[in-house]
Amino acid sequence: MKIIVAIKQVPERDAQITIAAGGKWIDAGDLAYTINEPDAYALEEALQLKEKLQQAGKSGVEVIALCAGPERVASTLREALAKGADRAIHILSDDLGSRDTLALAQLLAEAIRAESPDLILTGLQSEDLGLGQTGVVLAELLGVPHATIILQVEPTATGLRVKRELEDGWFQHIEMPLPALLTIQSGGNKLRYATLMGIKKAKSKPTATIAATPAHAPAAIELTRVYLPEKQKRTQMLTGTPAEIATQLVEKLQSEVRVL
């Protein structure tokens, strides 16, 4: 079984985001980047699936990490290799920001088609743009069935049985044939760390770098401006020592909120 995990590199969660001059995107200057968290869970699911299949006596299970982006994304791919991916594919592109979801998915689809995988996994959404669509668009372009917001994956005789999260604490099982694409929800598994041995081994694992082809069509949607959200409420900020803040809060709880 060949599994491709499509991952994205995003600014670290605690990064101080500032708006770039021109107001069309963020200042990328000193940002530290990391793997998109839901994609880390997709990689974990792939690695666990590989281990499960190997324990069941299946050989030839391969996990490939795929990422599009500039030079810097190589570090995220190296980390995926250190965690246990067998090889990596880097679609080298410096203009991802000008491509919409469809154009990006077309880039990924071209690389995936060349590999003919049995299963494609990716996170349910990115932590930067948060459009939550790349996986589904990719499935549509590849002509394979998909399921989204998945917490568990079990191989069956004919394909897969997956557990999909619904709203308000509901779940559902879905069965599907292979090849297929799943978007993985965070939190379904415990993420592993790269071991020293893994980091050492990663150095000898192959990474194929392919050049991005130009977008097929003009973008269908366009981001025209980024800005700080307007406050939905007038927030009164309380300051002072912890004891002073506590006194002010108690006063609010008694006189304004009336819960004391």
Binding site: I17, L102, G132, V136, V137, H146, Q185, G187, A219, K252
Partner: protein, 325 residues
């Protein structure tokens, strides 16, 4: 291409709240454009929903019935809606941003060479569609630049269901037949189920103390439990805390957990990602304690404290206990 078409969802035979909000968004956009707003419902036995729609101010109601639409599948819904959109040629197609819409709408847009503008919180003249980036740290305006229909999903709570205009005369209902075959539906869904017993009813709690990543480790939870006890509050959490198993899933607030609207919501160490905010922004009063002054939770907070929760929470617990005695 003209008009706004809103795709609604039914829950237990009635329009879901988010569908009513999407209809309100549809009416708002249609008015901006000087165009008509219609609605479409898919399924089997949709008559009760159609009757409910007839009471709303709509130019038309499309009813799509098929046995293969009884249970939701991405393949069935995508194929049916593709046929509806090709036949009725709306300029804009609006959806509520539900887990179901997230599952099929991107594929539907792809069939038209378009990209869904997802999770929209406001529609400005242009039209410009406002959505959030970086877990709610920034807002962004998006414009549709494609030549086909513009697909948009609307975040829960962004438009008011009670702003929905009632019908002066009931809209005409058109039954649309779609061509679906079992062979085209590649996934087999089973019936939805619930895992936890749901013994904790956060939705009816008057006071909630909620904890997020800022608490750092499970061993620190007694700190917020003590605050909740002092206030007589239910303890709740954001998703990462429940994912880590530090608190049971039934205490999770947000799009994948419970939706709450207490008198007081005290958020401790919660940054306020969109998925969390949709579950608690109906709270009457919100107090937020967070180390990051730019945390999006402060956008919905009435009172904010920027500081170290490990210092502020014990001080607050002590002060509350003193005030009560």
């Amino acid at each position: 291409m003209s008009g706004v078409l809103v795709v609604v969802e039914a829950r237990n035979g009635a329009l879901s709240r988010v569908s009513l909000e999407a209809l309100a968004a549809g009416q708002h956009l249609a008015k901006q454009l000087g165009q008509a707003c219609s609605a479409v419902v898919l399924g089997e036995g949709v008559t009760p929903v159609v009757d409910e729609l007839r009471a709303k101010n709509l130019a038309g109601i499309l009813a799509v019935e098929h046995t293969l639409l009884r249970q939701y599948t991405a393949d069935g819904t995508t194929a049916a809606l593709e046929q509806v959109v090709r036949k009725t040629t709306p300029a804009h197609v609006l959806f509520p941003h539900t887990y179901r819409v997230r599952d099929f709408a991107p594929a539907l847009a792809t069939r038209f060479g378009e990209v869904l503008i997802s999770d929209v919180i406001a529609i400005q003249p242009g039209p410009l569609f406002v959505r959030q980036l970086f877990q709610g740290k920034l807002n962004a305006d998006y414009r549709h630049s494609g030549s086909g229909p513009c697909f948009v999903s609307v975040q829960a709570g962004s438009f008011r269901a009670d702003a929905l205009e009632p019908a002066s005369t009931p809209a005409t209902v058109e039954a649309i037949s779609v061509d679906l075959t079992p062979a085209k539906i590649r996934t087999v869904p089973s019936e939805p189920f619930r895992e936890s017993a749901h013994t904790v009813d956060l939705a009816s709690a008057a006071v909630i103390v909620s904890v997020g990543r800022g608490i750092r480790e499970q061993g620190n939870l007694p700190l917020v439990q003590a605050l909740a006890d002092a206030l007589g509050a239910e303890l709740a959490a954001s998703r990462p805390i429940c994912d880590a198993g530090w608190l049971p899933m039934e205490r999770q607030v947000g799009s994948s957990g419970q939706t709450v609207s207490p008198k007081l919501y005290l958020a401790v160490g919660i940054s306020g990602a969109i998925q969390h905010l949709v579950g608690m922004k109906g709270s009457k009063t919100v107090i937020a304690i967070n180390k990051d002054e730019h945390a999006p939770i402060f956008e919905v907070a009435d009172y904010g404290v920027v500081g170290d929760l490990f210092e502020i929470v014990p001080a607050l617990t002590k002060a509350i206990a003193a005030a009560k005695s």
